[in-house]
Amino acid sequence: MATDSAPLKEPADATPATGTAAVEPLVRFDKVVKRYGDHVVLDELDFTVRRGEHVTLIGPSGSGKTTILRLLMTLEKVSDGVIWVDGSPLSHVRTADGSLKPAGEKQLRESRKKIGMVFQQFNLFPNMKVLQNITEAPVNVLGMAREEAEARAVDLLDLVGLSGKVDAHPSQLSGGQQQRVAIARALAMRPEILLLDEVTSALDPELVAGVLDLLGDIARSTDITMLCVTHEMNFARDVSKKVLMFDAGRVVESGSPEKIFSDPEHERTREFLNAVL
């Protein structure tokens, strides 16, 4: 097997940014506003994520956590402000005079190359078998040879513990199995940033642990930057390096999981944690 058919991304950035003191964060929200009509979901939100960081977003429903992931995946448009990914605007292009204007489909597709997403409801394609769900985009979007894509898909299915399900239809799988396939499908695109949107919320309780363990393994064994919206505080504690507490479209508090869970500074964080833990 070729070395590059390893299931997961090789550690990128072998050449560290030596000397440069301030390394540009991989993701930077710069006064991002998201409005639906008069309803303000995100209110001049600023936050950054460093390369390789595993960040968990927590907070009450409606606090804008999922919107952040959807903005990053370009499923929604920002109302104001700019999202920067790896130093480039995610959903804007620079015009001749240096200002930014909303990007077209072509530029958006360029931005999406770095980012993958796993959804709450899995969203596997029911018209494709498990293997094709994973190989479709690598072959037709990345232009990978079919044999190579299939070999990688088999490796990824092995990684997520579903090597026997290559020829299954999504409808024949349990929720937990579907979510594992969805994770494999996202990894097959070799994203630098993986967005996880309440990936265990739709699962039966007994299937949650398996999916969380898998994500923990991926977090430990790769350098993929992860942004995770979850109600699983154990996952936030075990896997992430940084927890962001959201309320009403703003970051109320951020810090290491130890700090947030054992010694929250903010009253709103204490209330939230008391309610969910």
């Binding site: 980012i115 969203n123 394609f125 985009a137």
Partner: protein
């Protein structure tokens, strides 16, 4: 044996030719309708107002003008305008295609809209192009939803083919009618026609059921053999794997 039935047997070549005209008009007309359904249905989902507007106008026009009048237009009025005459069967194919294509485009549009938005989003998250998303993700799922409604249209189109009599195409109806006129056996003649069209319609239903079954299989939805014989449209197929 009655006069009618013996004449029917004697004139079998004509009857067969009439049946052939009916089948030609049905099959070619529905193929043209299918093509127009997809073209107009996809145009209806365009981001561009102009493209949507053209689709809307064409659909409303052909849906809102009687098939009867469209046939007369094509057969009698068009030659006066263009000096170019179409054969009756071609007129039928074009009129049926335009008319049912207009109805069919609404089916295509509705089925595309019924595919859960989550499927579109999953395709975006995999960085598929708009064309790729439509072709490999949205349309294969929408297709299953279209088939039962297309079956209804196909049967309706078949049942409209006796209109060809108006523009003097010798379809099945016309040929049997002529035999009735000669033998005077009204009852037997129309009973024969009832039976003939029912058999044709049922055969088309069975074919479409087969098509629907294979489309569902591709979505991993298995249907029993009994579903093949039913004549009523299936309940809206549920898509697995999408948003529940």
């Amino acid at each position: 044996m009655s006069d009618f039935l013996s004449t029917l047997v004697d004139e079998f070549p004509q009857v067969r030719a009439g049946l052939w005209v009916t089948l030609q008009a049905t099959v070619l007309g529905s193929l043209l309708a299918l093509l127009l359904s997809f073209t107009l249905g996809l145009m209806a989902g365009s981001k561009l107002l102009l493209v949507r507007g053209v689709s809307r106008t064409v659909v409303e026009f052909f849906r809102g003008t009687s098939l009867y009048i469209q046939l007369f237009w094509l057969y009698y009025a068009m030659p006066q305008l263009t000096g170019y005459e179409l054969t009756p069967v071609v007129c039928g194919v074009v009129a049926f295609g335009l008319n049912y294509g207009a109805y069919g485009s609404e089916i295509v549009r509705g089925a595309i809209n019924s595919v859960p938005r989550a499927q579109y989003e999953a395709a975006v998250a995999l960085n598929m192009s708009p064309f790729h998303r439509m072709r490999k993700v949205i349309l294969p799922q929408a297709w299953v939803q279209m088939i039962p409604s297309f079956t209804n249209l196909l049967i309706q189109l078949l049942k409209c083919t006796p209109l060809l009599w108006l523009i003097s195409a010798a379809d099945l109806m016309t040929v049997v009618q002529q035999i009735r006129d000669r033998t005077g056996e009204t009852l037997t003649a129309y009973l024969t026609l009832l039976a003939a069209y029912f058999v044709l319609a049922y055969a088309l239903t069975l074919l479409m059921n087969l098509l629907e079954r294979s489309a569902k299989r591709r979505l991993g939805l298995h249907t029993g053999t009994r579903s093949l014989l039913r004549t009523r449209s299936a309940e809206a197929a549920t898509t697995a794997g999408g948003a529940r």
